[in-house]
Subunit: 107 residues, 2 copies
Amino acid sequence: MDKRIKRYLPMTESAYYILLALTEPRHGYGIIKQVEEMTAGRLKLGSGTIYGTLSKMQDDDMITVYSDEKRKTIYEITDIGKQILRLEFDRLDELHRNKERYKGEFL
Amino acid sequence: MDKRIKRYLPMTESAYYILLALTEPRHGYGIIKQVEEMTAGRLKLGSGTIYGTLSKMQDDDMITVYSDEKRKTIYEITDIGKQILRLEFDRLDELHRNKERYKGEFL
DNA sequence: TCTATTATGTCGCAACGTGATATAGTCGAG
DNA sequence: CTCGACTATATCACGTTGCGACATAATAGA
């Protein structure tokens, strides 16, 4: 596992949901709407957040620009992106386990 | 729910584990060791991280300084701190549910 | 025609994590 | 009794990041 991958962990909530929204190729605005749906309206991503994160992810080969139809830019997750997402899944599992283990102390 | 609380969500991994380590009052170094144990050595908090986060949390009444025995400073979680932690638990539940729901698409 | 929605992009600020650095007490091995 | 390892706390500067604000424009419907 190289440094490029490690740099992305822990993943921010925004970055995590942006990647998770890419179950299928989507354009920026579609990602915003998908994340809103996944979080029941809780998380509304600002344009600076998606387009900023998206171009950073592109630099790091986590996503590719899929196509340009009219003025839409379609993003697609790469194998590297999937790999990082899976590592984040593992981290989330750990967080979840520790939550279950200790939450009783804080009720 | 006031702004003071909302400002802490989403919580960073470091802040989350620091609070979670306060199941009982602990001093800074004890928190570092407890977090290391909870994460099986994965997360080693730097001194800048704990003492920085700890004094910020103190400013926001999430923790209180419990006592000074010799040169140790003991930190204890407050009711506000517990409240924020519980909201973070809820957010983590949502993350976990969405992970379970979509992870199949990335294997 | 006007307004809401879709759609993309940039800029600067504030916040955060962290390593480096400094300081000092304790305790066991040699 | 000395030396190194570990315990313990604290501050500073640095780079990265998230994100709101702002700008721009096309499209669809009222």
